[in-house]
């Protein structure tokens, strides 16, 4: 009785859309065209010159609306997204640039690299902040946690924008880099500098989360264990390696898992840095298909296909951690 409303909501708004996406990815809706013979006349002497041409016009119904037809196309939308022919050509020629020009593979490459690069950085930075805050005097812990929460809580698009404004054109940080390296720098003129900024932004944004979680873990660390490690002659680094890290291990795995999901969804950075010309991600690809193009049409079918592929990707990534959780549970029971 208590769970009812929530179950209904989830069924309608999570399960149903997934089915729709699956369905849509095999169908294409197109406006129907009819062939019309159109006679166009231009005034002339002695008779007006008339030409007839066969034109394709969208078919209209009695309300003046375009008649559309939905047809089953099988895997065509997937092929349109994946572009296997161009992929094969690029792979056979070992042409990295050609591979990078195919939207889907470019997005996949960036999304995976983004996840892999930021992961250790987030864990490392978070751990470092947690350890230093844990060792500092009591009175400044509160303010430090407050300041640290700011990058985490900020709207992702705004956070990315704030970094962009520091670097854009001759922004102060670009100017500082130029003075330091003694050369002209344009951070937003090529892909790899934007990518670096994205990594930096993401670490800045997520490290506070890792920090707060690890810091909470450090509070439950048993002081006796640490002291006995000292008695056994462990130095500072060994204590960290053999006592602190194993104690935090479940939390590290938790943060890794959450970060894996979040980094795979990378999207706001693309919007904030306006980087679609150089760097795109899987989520952004679907978003782009869904946005109306110049003619005002949304390619729903291709968006559905790319959404399905995105989903398959995250399921593949999550299978290992979830199977592990399943096995742990079997052990307990």
């Amino acid at each position: 009785m208590f769970v009812g409303p929530s179950l209904i909501l989830m069924l309608i708004f999570i399960a149903a859309p997934l089915v729709t996406v699956f369905w849509n990815s095999f169908y294409v809706t197109k406006p129907q065209y009819e062939k019309v013979e159109v006679e166009t006349c231009t005034p002339g002497f002695p008779k007006p010159k008339c030409t007839t041409a066969v034109k394709q016009l969208p078919l209209l119904d009695e309300n003046g609306k375009v008649v559309t037809e939905t047809s089953f196309v099988g895997l065509e939308s997937y092929i349109n997204v994946l572009e296997p022919n161009r992929l094969r050509a690029a792979l056979e020629a070992l042409d990295w640039n050609a591979l990078n020009n195919i939207e889907f593979w470019q997005a996949l490459r960036f999304t995976l690299l983004f996840t892999l690069v930021t992961m250790p950085l987030v864990i490392g930075t978070g751990l470092l902040i947690a350890l230093t805050v844990n060792g500092t005097i009591q009175s400044i812990k509160g303010p430090v946690i407050f300041v640290s929460l700011l990058p985490f809580i900020i709207t992702p698009v705004i956070g990315a924008l704030s970094i962009r404004w520091l670097f854009i054109g001759d922004g102060i940080l670009t100017a500082a880099l130029e003075a330091w390296l003694d050369r002209d720098i344009a951070m937003f003129a090529q892909g790899w500098t934007i990518e670096i900024l994205m990594y930096v932004y993401r670490v800045w944004h997520v490290a506070p989360f890792a920090f707060v979680v690890f810091y909470a873990g450090l509070q439950t660390l048993n002081n006796d264990t640490l002291e006995s490690a000292i008695v056994d002659g462990a130095n500072r680094f060994e204590r960290l390696r053999y006592v602190v890290i194993p104690h935090l291990m479940p939390l590290i795995i938790f943060v890794l898992l959450i970060h894996l999901m979040d980094a795979y969804r990378v999207f706001e950075e693309i919007v904030g840095f306006s980087s679609q010309a150089y760097v795109i991600s899987l989520q952004w690809l679907t978003y782009d298909f869904l946005m109306p193009d110049e003619a005002g049409t949304r390619s729903i079918s291709r968006a559905s296909a790319s959404a399905m592929l995105t989903m398959v990707g995250i399921i593949v990534l999550l299978v290992i951690p979830l199977r592990r959780a399943w096995r742990d549970r079997r052990k307990i029971h």
Binding site: M1, F2, S6, L7, L9, M10, I12, F13, I14, A16, P17, T20, V21, L128, I129, T132, I145, F146, V147, L149, L150, P151, I153, I154, T155, P156, L161, S162, I163, W165, L166, I168, G169, I172, A175, V212, A216, E227, L251, F254, L260, M261, R265, F267, V271, Q283, T286, Y287, F289, L290, R298, I300, A307, M308, T310, M311, I314, L318, L322, A325
Partner: protein, 385 residues
């Protein structure tokens, strides 16, 4: 707690760790603080490569927008006075005037009144006092800090950001209210059901948390656009087009967040001893009455935490709102992205910065007030998971 001698840090490590800590605090706060400064300057100053030009704003000053030493001193003194007042005098007044049990409401009224008075003091009283004094003081009365609020005025008034703000509040408020109502019931039900469902719920919540939102939106969008045609057989003439409607977006966001909310709340309810509501049931309460009379008074800490995270999801969302809302009902975050995607001039860019700072300010207050709950919410997931 005293630290054993053997665990005391050597001097170099202390130095290193304190240095790292200050560096991190600087890095964490700098971008946000800097755009706040930029938003008050003319474009020429805001994008100047020289940081001192950005801070002191010579170009802004030369246009006649600026603060004199006297004004800055008066402003700082007033700010200090107000902070002391808010910390010492205000709590006593609130405690004195509000009846017991309405503390939160009393604080809300007090904060609004206090903020209103502070704004009047800063914007009306200080200029009125310093205006005639400035010419008399010589060098102290000259502008030294360029400062202009024209971009805020342009954004909020000319660009009608007020409407975007209203939409944001509507969507966020709706999401928090509905998500908590539905989620609390479900969380409580699950926590007391005693079945194995909790584990499966956790797995489902994890999977849905991993699901990119664009996948879901790809499912909504075509249905929402055509919803009037689809629903006509059932609802007749009243079949609504869901696309562009704030309440449709509210329900979408609630559902996206639902697994996480339920999971968080159910683990919170598990920590409330079930003897409590069993006792109420023995005394003759129905299931629902037991929930209302016994559980509701003690559930607020957990509900506030879950509410904060719903708030953040709805407030910070870009993807769902930008795709499912039309231009008229746009919330603040997608609206700002629209501001600089056009052919932007430098002054448009500074207006976008002012809008960005306006969006961030409520979040800043949120962290200030709810720091403890946010931290506990973040760690709750880790400890239970």
């Amino acid at each position: 707690m005293s630290v054993p001698k053997s665990m005391e840090k050597p001097f170099w490590l202390k130095l290193l760790s304190n240095g790292f800590l200050s560096l991190w605090c600087l890095l964490a706060a700098f971008p946000i603080a800097w755009i706040a400064i930029m938003s008050f300057k003319t474009p020429f100053d805001a994008f100047s490569p020289n940081p001192f030009n950005v801070i002191f704003g010579p170009a802004t000053r030369s246009l006649g927008h600026g603060l004199t030493t006297l004004e800055i001193a008066a402003g700082l003194a007033l700010a200090y006075f107000l902070v002391v007042l808010a910390l010492r005098w205000l709590p006593r007044q609130v405690a004195h005037y509000t009846p017991a049990g309405y503390g939160a409401f009393g604080w809300l009224v007090a904060a609004l009144l206090f903020g209103f008075v502070a704004i009047i003091l800063f914007l009306v009283v200080i200029p009125a006092v310093t205006g005639p004094l400035n010419p008399l003081l010589g060098p102290l009365g000259r502008d030294i800090l360029g400062l202009t609020t024209e971009h805020y005025e342009a954004v909020w008034i000319d660009r009608n950001f007020v409407r975007n703000f209203g939409n944001s509040m509507l969507v966020t408020g709706g999401v928090v209210a509905i998500s908590l109502t539905v989620g609390t019931l479900a969380g409580y039900g699950l926590a007391r059901s005693g079945t194995d469902l909790a584990f499966w719920l956790l797995i489902v919540a994890l999977i849905f948390r991993a699901l990119p939102h664009s996948v879901l939106v790809a499912g909504y969008l075509p249905v929402f656009i055509k919803s009037a045609e689809i629903l006509r057989p059932i609802l007749g003439e009243f079949a609504p087009t869901l696309y562009g409607k704030p309440w449709a977006v509210i329900i979408v966001l609630v559902s996206i967040n639902q697994p996480f909310t339920i999971w968080m709340l159910s683990s919170f309810f598990q920590n409330i001893p079930s003897e409590l509501d069993e006792a109420a049931r023995v005394d003759g309460c129905s299931h629902f009455e037991a929930f209302r009379r016994v559980i509701m008074p003690v559930m607020w800490p957990g509900v506030i935490t879950a509410g904060l995270f719903s708030f953040l999801l709805a407030y910070n969302d870009f993807l769902v709102t930008s795709l499912l809302l039309d231009a008229r009902n746009m919330t603040m975050v997608p609206a700002i992205a629209g501001m600089f995607n056009r052919e932007t001039t430098a002054s448009d860019e500074v207006q976008a910065i002012a809008a960005a700072v306006s969006i961030t300010a409520p979040l800043f207050v949120l962290v200030l007030v709810f720091q403890k709950q946010i931290v506990s919410g973040l760690t709750a997931g880790a400890v239970k998971g």
